[in-house]
């Protein structure tokens, strides 16, 4: 890739690593814009090269901040767009082929393999590009075979026809066995003619990210009813938008938990109050007591995982548990771009971001200095005692660890509803279905090697 582009990627990575980009949405937007730049680059002539490059750059950005799962999501979305265009192209060409090469090929394929579903399907439709389901599960291998046979026949025909028309990829989406010369020829022929569609697709994705809050907020009136008491936790731009929109039509009350140690709930309460919504600010410790009076919890998420759980700002688990105890619906507002294909047990997900302990305790606080001093003194004493080696420092020394985790895991059974920008709410159990809609199966795990290393 060109140097300026690489520089831009590296600069963005540095910003991510150094925590200079704030929030998931900014990370998602930044990634999407870089990838748009990448796919518009004139060097990516074939869909294969494009996929590989998007994956490579995507993995680089993801590595800069592994905790930010949306980066991987955006990369998968873009790859999905490319794959869809490949499929569409494939289908188109297959149609031409069928029209041109008459029925003998189809007959040959049809004669060699059987299958109920084939009766309803186009014989050249790439099988594995379709979602794996009960309808085509058994056909998988057979169809591949059929495609191969057909491809060979077609190739012979094509050779006989002295390559009058540019040959296409015909071995089916799964194999991508298009021969080298063909790719070469295509490269010489110029740009992939569906490139513009891919760029448009990425543009749509960026637009989706831009409108995300509005799209979610448009459903506000359906979820918030008159005179309800809504509990929110900390600050969230999305939630604020949502409540403001609801307040245009409805009259309701909001209880805001301040969310230590950032205390951004205070800002949230201030902004809600400024928007004319009746807000009550409570400390986190009062959440459980307050829950009895609450009709609904509106929460936000850092990432939505494949099993329907969410990674949420720290403290959300407590809120969800309290809501469950009082049978209060726990609604998560979540742009679909946060939907990740990873499961929480996946080693690249299962960790937290531990932030600066200074949020909790100033470093020059006596409690921080004391253990260190005590240890130094103990070591000195050990040194003075000379040969009297003990197995380590004496027990009972002061010891203080300040942990400032950033995220919480909220299991699916505590979540009542997801409200996304896709115009309808869904339950956690429906998440797997959403996955197949937005991502391609092959992209579910982007970096197999890294994954193996992590498990190994």
């Amino acid at each position: 890739m060109s140097q300026p582009f690489n520089d831009r990627v590296e600069a963005f990575c540095r910003r991510l690593t150094d925590r200079r980009t704030d929030g998931t949405l900014a990370a998602a937007k930044g990634t999407a814009e870089l990838l748009r730049q990448l796919v518009t680059s004139s060097r990516l002539n074939t869909p294969e090269v494009m996929l590989a490059e998007v994956k490579r750059v995507g993995l680089r950005i993801q590595a800069a901040k592994p905790i930010e799962l949306v980066i991987g999501n955006i990369v998968r979305r873009v790859m999905h767009i490319i794959r869809e265009e490949m499929e569409a192209e494939q289908e188109e060409q297959d149609d031409d082929l069928v029209a041109g090469a008459a029925g003998d090929v189809a007959a040959a394929g049809a004669a060699s393999v059987g299958g109920l579903s084939r009766a309803f399907r186009h014989p050249f439709a790439a099988p594995s590009s379709r979602t794996l389901s009960l309808h085509n599960l058994l056909d998988q291998g057979a169809l591949d075979e059929a495609a191969d046979v057909a491809a060979q026949q077609h190739q012979q025909q094509a050779a006989a026809a002295a390559a009058a028309s540019p040959p296409t990829q015909h071995s089916g989406g799964s194999g991508r066995r298009g021969s080298f010369e063909e790719k070469e020829r295509k490269g010489r022929a110029g740009q992939w003619d569906r490139k513009q569609e891919v760029i448009d697709g990425v543009n749509d994705l960026i637009q989706e990210l831009k409108d995300i809050d509005d799209a979610i907020a448009s459903q506000a009136v359906e979820h918030i009813h008159a005179n309800e008491v809504v509990l929110v936790f900390g600050y969230s731009r999305t939630v604020l938008h949502f409540l403001r929109r609801a307040a245009e039509k409805r009259n309701f009350e909001v209880v805001v938990a301040e969310a230590a140690p950032t205390y951004q709930g205070q800002q949230m309460a201030a902004e809600l109050a400024a928007a004319g919504i009746h807000a009550t600010l409570i400390p986190d410790s009062a959440i459980f007591a307050m829950m009895a009076r609450v009709n609904k919890v509106i929460a936000t998420a850092h990432a939505l995982l494949a099993n329907g759980s969410v990674m949420a700002p720290v403290g959300m688990h407590v809120v969800a548990m309290a809501a469950r105890r009082h049978s209060v619906p726990f609604v998560v507002l979540c742009g679909i771009y946060k939907l990740s294909t990873l499961f929480p047990h996946n080693p690249s997900v299962n960790f937290n971001d531990f932030r600066d302990p200074a949020d909790l305790l100033p470093r020059d606080h006596e409690a921080v200095a004391l253990p260190r001093r005590a240890r130094a003194e103990a070591l000195l004493r050990l040194a003075e005692e000379g040969n009297e080696w003990r197995a380590g420092l004496p027990s009972g020394l002061p010891e203080l660890t300040v942990a400032n985790p950033c995220y919480d895991y909220v299991p699916p059974e505590l979540i009542s509803l997801f409200v996304t920008d896709q115009g309808h709410g869904f339950m956690p159990s429906y998440v797997y279905r959403q996955l197949t809609e937005f991502y391609h199966r092959q992209d579910f795990i982007l970096d197999k090697q890294q994954l193996d290393q992590l498990i190994g």
Partner: protein, 751 residues
């Protein structure tokens, strides 16, 4: 701040003219990082390349500056340019594989020892075009500099004379008055500021700030209604400077250190109109690596995430798989056998192998290390490629690259092994030792600080490395070198860089120094007794035992009465003087009994003390055998010394008097002579060197007299020399210090 753009476009506006505020906020700054040699870290490699966590310290500095909008960073270093450049290239800061972001340039300033010299060098190079951030030393930080930079630039826009902003750490938050660790205690300074504008009017720093009081000129109050005197502030060694600062340094070529010379210089030249400001860091981290203690403290902070987001598990590197789990960092490529014990605050680096039964307690293992079976590491820091064999014990030490510690060896507290050294099987490296393959030349201090070596030296080093390599592999070197066997063992490789630098003595005053209350500024006992002192000693030395005893009791009683009735120093001096004249005694006689009474005041009252004075003695028996007891005792002695040092000084005019005092103290500790009965002097025997050190610190004893005392005892019998031997460390240190102060006045500023 891109004023230099104006210059480049051919404008005639001088570079230091502040540009309008609108530009400033969005703009970026230049930064200068001075990576001078740190004598406190020798013989380790460049301080900038010492690993803190996984990455070298300079990486932290660069990331921090880049995050603070510095787009052009100049590293000034007197040596090691090649290593630095190699690292910068590898890490993508410079060279072909440069990532976006800040541009980093390395400037070699050969022979630069001080901040002043280095900055004059920068000035000559003419690379600084506008206001810039000056970082002196390798500072690891995450404090947000942006608001400070903005405030500085806004101030500059309003007043061109506001040439510098000093970044300071605030004081400790709790008022318990306890020290906040050795490294932090250093560099506390006293600052007089205008509370409203944060303008700095006086800055005092050094070991005993504020103990002599501070004089404030009335001019300070001429323009403002209030001033604030702050004692808890600490320099962070980060300055935001206008280019004028460089010009000032060039004009005053004798300025060496920023805080020590430049700041007082500017403040004393009010008429020039330049003003300095301070900015107190409300939160955020910024610590310099300049001593071994400072280094280990920074490493510990990095591991406890105070430098977030620059922590080992957030390198942003694709290849880096360091994970943070329950307080320990383990790299994905590291191999740990089952049965290893790794405590919180440990790190196991890339590709390292830890064998079964090894125990790591708050230790950091760099990349590609090998820790043998049953090895035990405690609060240690291992750089890359270190091999620690089976059943070794390493405690609170720093092991440089490729160091080999062979089976059953021990490395004791405070040891520093520079790269490629080898410790022989079952050898024990004594505490506080610094070992290197390079032989430390005992030449002038100038050559001391140079890590560079000439051609013949490099050949020597190559030979040493070859020998060390052979020894590390368990063989015998072809050309055996005369390594210091008492340090590294018969088949070890390494020379002692310096003898154990009396770590105990170094640390103790730090621990004790915390007790200084800001109120003991009452050293203003002048004039009053001058005439009394002119009455000189009639020193006939013969004493009758009974007379001596009586005089001793008299002095003690007078002294106690003075304390009890809170008689002022001056009057106490008069009373004691009167006693002296009446009994026809010397000053030393008075001093010695005052001193012993003072010491006895640190212990619970003995039965011989009169009931009326018992209240003066502390309650509760101390256990002088335990560490706590001893520390507490030292603390009390320190407090006593502090409050009575003025009095002592009155009676210890000459060096002879002071030697006399030391002899008395010996007697007192040994419970012989005058003190044979009823005194619990033996308690202090164990603390003899520490107490002498305290006296030295409080200026009660001068270094000359301590050395004289030692010399006097030189030919005494072994028994007599007992206490002198105890003080061997202190004496060596004093001798060193003397040489240093003789040859180089600068030393204290750099510490």
């Amino acid at each position: 701040m891109t004023c230099w753009c104006y210059i480049q476009s051919g404008s005639i506006i001088p570079p230091w003219v502040a540009v309008p505020a609108g530009n400033l906020l969005a703009g970026a700054m230049q930064a200068v990082v001075l990576l001078l040699n740190e004598p406190g870290l020798q013989p380790l490699a460049l301080p900038a390349l010492l690993p803190a966590g996984q990455a070298p310290a300079v990486e932290f500095t660069l990331r921090w500056l880049e995050s603070s909008n510095c787009t052009e960073i100049h590293l000034v270093t007197p040596s090691g340019t090649d290593q630095l450049n190699a690292y910068l290239k590898r890490a993508g800061w410079a060279g072909g594989a440069r990532r976006g972001g800040a541009a980093v340039h390395v400037m070699t300033a050969p022979g630069c020892q001080t901040e002043g010299e280095a900055l004059r060098f920068v000035e000559q190079k003419d690379v600084i075009k506008g206001d810039f951030v000056l970082v002196s030393g390798c500072v690891v930080g995450n404090a947000d500099l942006k608001p400070v930079l903005q405030a500085h630039l806004a101030r500059r826009a309003a007043d061109r004379q506001a040439i510098m902003t000093l970044l300071m750490h605030g004081g400790p938050r709790t008022c318990s008055g306890a020290a906040t660790g050795g490294a932090q205690q250093q560099g506390r300074c006293l600052a007089v500021i205008d509370p409203r504008s944060q303008q700095l009017m006086k800055l005092e720093q050094g070991g005993r700030v504020g103990s002599h009081g501070v004089s404030l000129g009335t001019h300070m109050l001429s323009e403002r209604n209030s001033i604030a005197v702050r004692t808890g502030l600490r320099l962070s060694h980060v300055y935001i400077c206008a280019p004028d600062v460089l010009m000032l340094l060039s004009d005053n070529f004798d300025y060496q250190s920023m805080a020590g010379d430049l700041v007082p210089g500017v403040l004393s030249e009010q008429e020039l109109g330049s003003t300095l400001f301070i900015s107190e860091l409300a939160r955020g981290y910024a610590e310099r690596i300049s001593t071994l203690a400072g280094y280990s403290s920074v490493v510990e902070d990095v591991l406890s995430r105070w430098t977030y987001p620059w922590v080992p598990d957030n390198s942003g590197d694709q290849q880096d798989l360091c994970r943070f789990n329950r307080g320990t960092y383990v790299d994905g490529t590291a191999i740990m056998a089952s049965g290893t014990v790794v405590s919180k605050g440990s790190l196991i680096g890339h590709g390292s192998i830890v064998e079964s039964g090894a125990c790591l307690e708050r230790s950091i293992i760099g990349s590609d290390c090998h820790i043998g079976r049953g090895a035990f590491l405690q609060a240690s820091c291992l750089h890359s490629g270190v091999r620690v064999d089976d059943n070794c014990r390493v405690s609170s030490a720093v092991l440089g690259e490729q160091v080999v510690v062979r089976a059953h060896a021990r490395v004791e507290t405070g040891v520093l092994l520079a790269k490629h050294t080898v410790v022989d099987t079952a050898h024990s490296v004594p505490a506080g030792m610094r070992v290197s393959l390079i032989q430390h030349k005992a030449g002038g201090p100038g050559s001391d600080d140079e890590m560079e070596w000439g051609d013949e030296d490099s050949a020597q080093v190559a030979a040493a490395e070859a020998a060390a390599g052979a020894l590390a592999a368990g063989g015998i070197p072809e050309a055996p070198l005369d390594f210091d066997q008492h340090v590294v063992g018969a088949f070890g490789a390494g020379f002692a860089w310096s003898e154990p630098a009396a770590t105990a003595l170094d640390v103790l005053p730090l621990v004790l120094g915390s007790q200084s209350s800001p109120s003991d500024c009452d050293s203003e006992v002048e004039d009053f007794t001058k005439d009394a002192q002119v009455v000189e000693e009639m020193g006939d030395e013969e004493e009758h035992a009974t007379g001596a005893d009586q005089f001793k009791r008299e002095v003690a009683e007078t002294f106690l009465r003075c304390i009890k009735e809170r008689i002022s120093h001056d009057n106490a001096v008069i009373e004691l003087n009167g006693l002296k004249i009446a009994e026809d005694r010397t000053f030393a006689d008075c001093a010695r009994y005052i001193f012993t009474t003072m010491l006895s005041l640190c212990l619970p009252a003995s039965p011989t003390v009169k009931a009326e004075y018992r209240a003066l003695f502390p309650e509760g028996q101390l256990d002088p055998k335990s560490k706590e007891g001893r520390l507490e005792l030292l603390r009390r002695i320190n407090a006593q010394l502090k409050s009575w040092k003025a009095l002592m000084q009155r009676f210890l005019k000459s060096s002879d008097d002071q030697v006399e005092l030391l002899l008395t103290f010996e007697e007192y500790c040994a419970e012989e002579g005058d003190f044979a009965s009823g005194e619990s002097g033996a308690v202090f025997a164990e603390l003899f060197p520490q107490v002498v050190k305290l006296c030295y610190d409080q200026d009660v004893l001068s270094e000359d007299s301590i050395l004289d005392w030692a010399r006097e005892k030189e030919h005494a019998s072994d028994e007599d020399r007992h206490f002198v031997d105890m003080c061997a460390d202190l004496l060596a240190w004093l001798e060193d210090a003397e040489e240093e102060t003789d040859s180089e006045e600068e030393g204290s500023d750099e510490e």
